[in-house]
Symmetry: C2
Subunit: 386 residues, 2 copies
């Protein structure tokens, strides 16, 4: 059944309360958030207009009470439909003052009191406003301390609500149905670019809102690159085709791939597939609340090592999933994050084989008290042949 | 005819030489670029992998010679297909050192010589790396001066090459064909969300690679919001439907909209449409090399003032177009940019009318020595009725 779009106001209230509880512990008098997922997380503000880099957007989360939006006029109508009461706007773009004086007014009391403001400065974040404006804003607020609030936001966003899980489950279902259609349009002689185009159209037909991410490859016996756009080369017998999709529904992503052999699979490709399928099984078994991302990584790596003990070039074996294609945490040796109930994760073992070939498997899961539940339909145990 | 994908190496060499000539004038010993369009502009590195916020990417453009890429290992295969010779990689993600020590080594000679490094800090830019990492990098390079290189990059990217114009013309043609199909799937009773889905599938069928941007609205007599996702409300007789698309081909965008009345158009909507159609005509006439963006803005505003003298909430009446949905410059009173041959621009007059209704028209043009040439098929002179 298709879940409801959007969220109840109670969801945003709860997210805000949780943030404020953590802010009190961390000694933060407010958060200044600039990025699409964070602003959406606390307000529900959902628009593709973020594609335009022209205008900055700001959300202030105070120590108590509702967040305050400081946004371009063009977003006012949409933001005023949210649960917020205080939406401040300016006519943007305005290069000489793109929200800076409004922010200055809002943050001055904190600066005068010598308070600490949380800003996202850490891993997997960026600054979505002109750096010169940021520096000017901070120079105009002497006395204001700035602290990195990445751990706070990360801790909140990593654990999903049931409403978020319903959206993620829905789009993963659409992704699975889309992959099931691949044999109807991918065949010997069809250019890879056409396979991509057909996949996009099929996923939309099956209910995806959008496919912001679709990558893949197809070459004889395997593929060498997992991030390139498609070539016009026709699929040939003996190719291994991989498609990896980040489709969205109501602003939530699936992120998993599938591998197919065209006409015939050689032993090396079948062996790589088998190792990765079993590495995923090991990951599914290890994905338990209380284990760490490192544990999960080690469980998959132990199987991958049957064929490849180098670790590959992807840098990790999966990650968090939600409003973004990739989110915290990382299944990697460096990440000691403790897995918790209601985290939504990818398991993404990869390996190198043969002469510079690479293979990747990926599934999407939600962690429950009893372990991993698949959101994607499990890949076939043997490399499917089209 | 479909243009070739990608660019000849000579194009990247020329872009780099132009940047270096301007760097010499500005006293810059190098540029450090972090964002997708800039890295693609100088290398051709083209991937949807930027959807993942996890890893930072860096390109250093020296005062002479080819750029140097400092990128995650996962991008090495693709970047090594570019015209660059020097591609340095690390196993990313690595929160304790995500490229920072590689950058430090690269930039140390500049710091020791007290040179000046250009970084994008200005309008319509952001910092696509963790702010804490940026601060740490700069603290570790005492002696290095940092200057905003936005004017330099802006001046380069605003004027398109013939190869870029061919791609932009191609996707604008696909956009026009897609809009021509709207009457085949938009009709009384069809939910707006289904109209969006059909538009996406049609544009893909007609050759678009992707539709990163599709917004619009439909309400009785007009629409109130131009950035929201679609509702499930069925189209009704008397609605004005607007669709605004940013479709891409080979990494270049079209960005224009079309308006349609469902079954019947009331006088207010027809009048608003007429004013905007003539405002666009005025813009087409005013778009001449040597005029300024402000001139173009004033030409359109003078017509819009027949119905609305408030200026509206969009903040400008068009903008640059290219690798991004919206680029420099802005057709606004604040922008004195002089229009040049081979700029690709949108003309986007909008107005408010009735009880909180808004209407937007948009066309895409390329400036030639003799003035504006349309890349989009000109909208019908009267509000089309479906």
């Amino acid at each position: 059944m298709t879940p409801a779009r959007g969220f109840e106001p109670a969801e945003f209230e709860q997210r805000t309360r949780k943030a404020q509880a953590r802010m009190a512990k961390d000694g933060l008098a407010g958060l200044l958030l600039l990025s699409e997922p964070e602003i959406r997380y606390f307000t529900g503000f959902h628009t593709l207009f973020w594609q335009s880099p022209t205008r900055p957007w700001f959300l202030f989360v105070p120590a108590a009470g509702k967040p305050v939006a400081v946004i371009p006029e063009i977003g006012a109508a949409l933001m005023r439909q949210s649960w917020l009461d205080d939406v401040r706007t300016w006519s943007a773009p305005n290069p000489s003052d793109d929200g800076i004086s409004l922010l200055h007014d809002l943050l001055s009391p904190l600066a005068q009191a010598g308070e600490c403001l949380g800003v996202l400065k850490g891993h997997e974040t960026g600054l979505r406003m002109p750096l010169a404006d940021y520096e000017r804003l901070m120079q105009g607020l002497p006395g204001l301390h700035v602290a990195d609030c990445t751990p706070l936001i990360r801790a909140l966003r990593m654990v999903k609500s049931e409403a978020e899980i319903a959206k993620l489950s829905h789009i993963c279902g659409i992704g699975s149905q889309s992959f099931a259609q691949v044999p109807t349009f991918a065949a010997e002689g069809v250019p890879l670019g056409e396979v991509f185009r057909s996949f996009r159209r099929e996923a939309l037909r099956l209910g995806a809102d959008d496919l912001p991410y679709l990558v893949g490859g197809a070459e004889p016996g395997g593929y060498r690159d997992v991030i390139s756009p498609p070539t016009a080369r026709p699929l040939a017998r003996g190719d291994v085709l991989m498609l990896d999709t980040g489709a969205t529904w109501d602003g939530y992503f699936c992120d998993f791939d599938r591998n197919f052999a065209i006409g015939h699979a050689d032993d090396a490709a079948r062996r790589a597939y088998d190792v990765l399928w079993r590495a995923t099984e090991a990951g599914l078994g290890a994905a338990q609340p209380g284990a760490t991302c490192r544990d999960l990584f080690e469980a998959m790596r132990a199987v991958i090592a049957e064929l490849d003990d180098q670790g590959g070039e992807v840098g990790r074996l999966g990650h968090g999933l939600g409003m973004q294609l990739t989110e915290w945490p990382s299944h990697a040796a460096f990440d000691a994050t403790v897995l918790q109930e209601n985290m939504v994760l990818t398991l993404e073992p990869s390996l190198s084989y043969g002469d510079g070939l690479i293979m990747v498997h990926e599934e999407n899961i939600v962690l429950r008290s009893d372990g991993a539940h698949l959101l994607s339909d499990r890949a076939a145990p043997e490399l499917p042949i089209i």
